[in-house]
Subunit: 455 residues, 2 copies
């Protein structure tokens, strides 16, 4: 048939590079749209300033559910709906107190109750403080020393980790398990150094968990600067006592909703690409980085596709997940319903590492998945995406691993993330618009090329 196999090969070659060229042009179009638009940033401003932080069970979370549903409805997406989720309800109560109250020293420490902590009772607790920097040290001191005391966990997050998530991960045990571990030895409460590797005056909250076999004692975060001050004080005066008071408490579970908006696929509408962030947050600050921005980027991805007229082959679904911070019930519910409804899932992307310049994607999946997706890096490299590597796929996506699909996280540079994380410092004005535009564009581009070319 082929008289000129060489010419045929040449035609194939040109078709392939033409397709590649067309795809590059589409990606350029995606970046142009994102870099010119102020919509996502303005939506984030509304979410952060008009609504505020969005603790599970709070009125603000309910407001945010309505707001994001309305946003996607106004965009005239093909489908917008709510998915009911039972969510936990913990309240912080009164503004907490944490004060050094030794006879000759009175000093307030920057503090807040850790997420999930019980209260001290309205009268508060006064006790001597003992500092430790590991569970081994706690064990070595034992009941004789610890009983009746407030334990101060002060292991410093190591700033020499290149990835701040590693620094955080290494000391997270203090926050999560410190209270129950100290309670075993009769401690009456714990103070936990904030997990950020930098130095600031913000207490950084976050989830803590109780081992139900021991007494539940109150748990507070101290800012790193306050932790340093307290530690210095303890070096000079051993019998420092501290007064703490919080009225935090657990309430009965309540109802929340994953907020879902879809742009139907042109060719395989039954195959789902999920792009998400979590709408709930801690109650300090405005939860701009964690994870208001991730949610607004997910919606922005759909806006970019619609505005540019790029029609995806598969259905792209933006999901604002519930309850990432406490029990991850939103992610679980989403995967459970996907299973019940026999949905076909193709891959999922999450943005939940704050806003900074995106430098890569991490892919949780088989080696084959990672290799196949990595092939598309050259499309993104001109836009400052330097790597696609095997890694973690995002908290809310974990239960989707049952579908054996790649779970992907966008990776912004993480140098600044823990300056904001779970603290009053996580406010809208700390989010740079251009960095957010780059994140939306990178996610939209990855979705475009994987949907178009397959993996």
């Amino acid at each position: 048939m082929l008289k000129h196999p060489f010419l045929f090969a040449l035609v194939l070659f040109f078709s392939a590079s033409q397709a590649q060229n067309d795809d590059s042009l589409v990606i350029r179009k995606i970046y142009n749209e994102s870099l010119r638009s102020h919509v996502a940033y303005s939506n984030l401003e509304h979410l952060c300033i008009k609504i505020g932080s969005r603790l599970s069970g709070s009125q603000q979370l309910t407001d945010a559910i309505q707001y994001t549903k309305q946003l996607m409805t106004d965009m005239k997406l093909d489908t917008v709906y709510l998915q009911e989720v039972k969510i936990p309800h913990w309240i912080r109560g009164d503004k907490e107190i944490c004060r050094v109250t030794s006879t000759d020293i009175s000093m307030n420490l920057d503090n807040c109750a850790l997420g999930g902590s019980v209260g001290t009772g309205v009268k508060g607790i006064t006790a001597n403080v003992i500092e430790v920097s590991s569970f081994d040290q706690l064990k070595a001191l034992g009941k004789t020393v610890i009983n009746g005391k407030i334990v101060f966990f002060n292991q410093v997050a190591d700033p020499t980790h290149i990835n701040t998530f590693e620094a955080y991960g290494e000391v997270a045990y203090q926050r999560v398990h410190g209270a129950s571990e100290a309670s075993k030895y009769g401690a009456v409460a714990v103070l936990v150094r904030s997990l950020n590797p930098g130095h600031d005056d913000y207490p950084h909250t976050g989830i803590m968990a109780y081992d139900k076999s021991v007494a539940m004692i109150p748990a507070f975060a101290l800012s790193t600067n306050s932790a340093d001050k307290l530690s210095k004080l303890l070096k000079t005066a051993k019998d420092i006592s501290v007064y703490i008071r919080n009225t935090s408490e657990w309430r009965t579970d309540t109802t929340g909703f994953n907020v879902i908006g879809e742009l139907k696929g042109s060719k395989f509408p039954d195959e789902i690409i999920t792009v998400g962030g979590h709408l709930d947050s801690w109650d300090e600050g405005q939860a701009a980085h964690d994870d208001g921005a991730g949610c607004m980027e997910a919606i922005e991805v759909l806006r970019i596709f619609k505005t540019t007229g790029i029609r995806p082959q598969r259905t792209i679904r933006a999901v604002m997940f519930m309850d990432e911070e406490i029990h991850q019930s939103g992610g679980r519910k989403y995967a459970e319903m996907a299973g019940k409804n026999n949905e076909k899932h193709y891959f999922a992307v999450e943005s939940d590492e704050g806003v900074a310049i995106p430098v890569g994607f991490s892919v949780q999946g088989s080696d084959l998945h990672v290799a196949a997706i990595k092939k598309f890096l050259p499309y993104l490299r001109p836009y400052g995406i330097y790597f696609i590597e095997k890694g973690y796929g995002g908290v809310d996506l974990q239960e989707l691993s049952a579908f054996k699909i790649p779970l992907i996280s966008i990776v912004p540079d993480n140098s600044r993330y823990f300056d904001y994380h779970h603290s009053p410092n996580d406010t809208f004005d700390k989010v740079n618009e251009r960095e957010m535009q780059f994140a939306s564009a990178a996610i939209a581009s990855l979705i475009y090329i994987l949907d178009k070319s397959g993996y």
Copy 2:
């Protein structure tokens, strides 16, 4: 001789990889030292808060010269000295005024005189405004329309450029040559939209130049938000008049000093590695990003070498250059003296693109230079240095190209740079410590490996 060439090869292989491994450990040590130290950031705080911005010819620049000399003297460097440079002296004068003064509208515009502008005279100038967005448009309007008017250059920096320096570069002609170009057609002054691609209320200054063949007219920067407002106004009312007043003027040249500190090389003390930033700045803000940080990073590189006990083979010279912003006389003087003294230069590095996470190095030199230096990228890749590419080597280093050596710039991500550049927004609190630590470490590591292994 060789009975077992295979074994010999094996030994060579192990020696090579052992050396590589040792170098990796040294680089790890450099990063550890930088990431743990608060010295450079604290020095920058002093420079920005206690001294402030450092316009050529100002008292603050003189103070900064003394301060950095003292810093390096206190570090007990091997040599610390000043290199006299004749520097220009322009003063801003009174706080400028720029106000829309049409009969029914009175509106202040965020403004400042551009660097090098002449004054309006104490009475100021009132004239009608005409908006253009290119020199072609100006030419098309011609003398009939332009004569007696204030020309408003409003070409918007294109936010779709991935590299913000390209967006800036594309519109810089308005600031640099706008006044003389408009003067050709009889304009009485120019207002120039700030060159940043984002939207803010800060007027961004910067150098402008006069073509001496036409009348020198005053030149002002408007913030991008004010430029948008004025443009909107001009669309509805054509005969908008604006009152401007500035008392800027040129004074006679004065004397400044490149500040130089050296750590002598152990093996080739006559061969010089230059690491620099520029100490002068514009007078708005505190010149933290441009280029206080670059100077403090250069000093930090020497501190890291000294503190870790890593002895360089060649002499490393930290240079705080004079007068980058106006006439680049510091860089010229440095190269001139290097020539006169028959110095041997090995390579030079500059940090003058602000503080953000460093992502690469750009190398100005021959292709062989670039390729040879690029070989060392694997040492830096674990620390988030993603590229070493042919590119620009830094303003202050340009005259060193006579030595045919590689001129290297550290490249931080540039998304945020023009939010600060030449504006009141360039303050110490906008510099992130960790990002600065990464920059110092990256520069020190590159110097270490190039000095150790050659290129």
